[in-house]
């Protein structure tokens, strides 16, 4: 192959490579964003509040009813984050 042709051919190959890599990168990014759809899920459903004695929810110190009414997340027995400071 004449030497004069080598450089243009190499340049064309590099450009084609860059072009296709870019295409794949864009395709990958689009696929990544598609894969993300539906992956951002809400936190867990809170667990059930505990049982109540025969005195009923208005009985002395009914813990589940207090938990249901409380403004504090700790008293409400909501899910905890890992390693919460």
């Amino acid at each position: 192959m004449p030497r004069a042709l080598v450089r243009p051919l190499l340049l064309a190959a590099a450009l084609a490579g860059a072009f296709f890599c870019g295409r794949f990168a864009v395709a990958n990014a689009a696929a990544a964003e598609d894969a993300l759809a539906g992956q951002l899920t809400p936190s867990a459903t809170p667990g059930l509040l505990g049982p109540i004695t025969s005195a009923g929810r208005k009985g002395w110190d009914c813990k589940p009813e207090h938990a249901a009414a409380s403004a504090s997340v700790h008293a409400a027995e909501l899910p905890a984050a890992p390693d919460t400071r």
């Binding site: 990014a29 809170p46 025969s54």
Partner: protein, 269 residues
């Protein structure tokens, strides 16, 4: 000398009083010979006993035994508050036996007997989410919140239901209100971020996720969500770093670990 004798005597009397047993007063004996009144007293006694046995069974995780006791109490149909309470406790037993439809039916009946029964509403929302009945979950959560507007559980429950049904605006409002009284609750910052992301507010979503991570540095789901938000903003290098950090923190969650690894590998820097 006299003083020391007196002190010893007082000490002895105090010790004797402390060691002496106290006995409960005698149970009142039914003062009736009327057959219906005696039958009613026997039913009351049975209800009390079955509650006691049922609660012991629940605490021992014997859900089948507990269900049998509370089902019998429900069949006796005692007056309030025992009627709604027996149904509430029966629902807990059913939910643990994976009989979610039966649990929901008992909780509905409990709320019908006692329309202000917040704990029953809280549990019905949880059971409905497990059953996939988002329509009833939303309706009960709305009622729960109307009765207890400051309740952390009501706000959280409706926020989760709203996110599950595509109502990001309500979720944003509920988690925002929950954070107003509980600003250090990382989970609510995460859920608020999900709502903001769905509303297209990427800056707000990023801010909430960074707050969640400052409160709970190994919160892998928050780190993953941050990666997703950064990716949507075109900040690929930062997104990739977030997915790498997710992989470090998600050792207990193989599904999250896999998706984070796939995301990291898909991002060409």
């Amino acid at each position: 000398m006299r003083i020391s004798v007196l002190a010893t005597l007082i000490a002895l009397l105090t010790t004797t009083a402390a060691l002496s047993q106290t006995y409960p007063g005698a149970m009142p004996v039914p003062r009736t010979t009327s057959a219906p009144a005696l039958a009613d007293l026997a039913k009351q006694r049975e209800v009390e006993e079955r509650f006691r046995i049922g609660l012991a069974a629940l605490s021992a995780a014997n859900y089948k035994g507990a269900a049998a006791e509370f089902a019998r109490v429900v069949a006796i149909n005692p007056a309030e508050p025992k009627g709604s309470t027996a149904r509430y406790d029966l629902a807990i037993a059913y939910a643990n036996l994976q009989r979610e439809d039966d649990a929901a039916a008992q909780l509905r009946a409990a709320i019908e007997l006692d329309p202000g029964f917040l704990a029953a509403m809280a549990n019905l929302v949880a059971v409905d989410l497990a059953r996939g009945d988002f329509t009833e979950a939303r309706s009960v959560a709305d009622r729960f919140l109307a009765l207890a507007p400051d309740s952390a559980r009501a706000l959280y429950a409706r926020g989760i239901v709203a996110l599950g049904t595509g109502d990001a605006a309500t979720a944003r409002e509920d988690f925002g209100k929950l954070l107003h009284s509980n600003p250090a609750y990382a989970v609510a910052h995460y859920d608020l971020a999900i709502a903001e992301e769905r509303l297209g507010h990427m800056d707000a979503a990023e801010r909430e996720l960074r707050t969640a991570l400052s409160l709970a540095p190994t919160y892998a789901r928050a780190e993953f969500a941050l990666g997703a938000v950064l990716l949507r903003q075109g900040r690929r290098s930062e997104a990739r770093d977030a997915f790498v950090r997710t992989m470090q923190d998600a050792s207990g969650d193989p599904a999250l670990l896999n998706i984070a690894a796939a995301m990291r590998d898909s991002i060409a820097i």
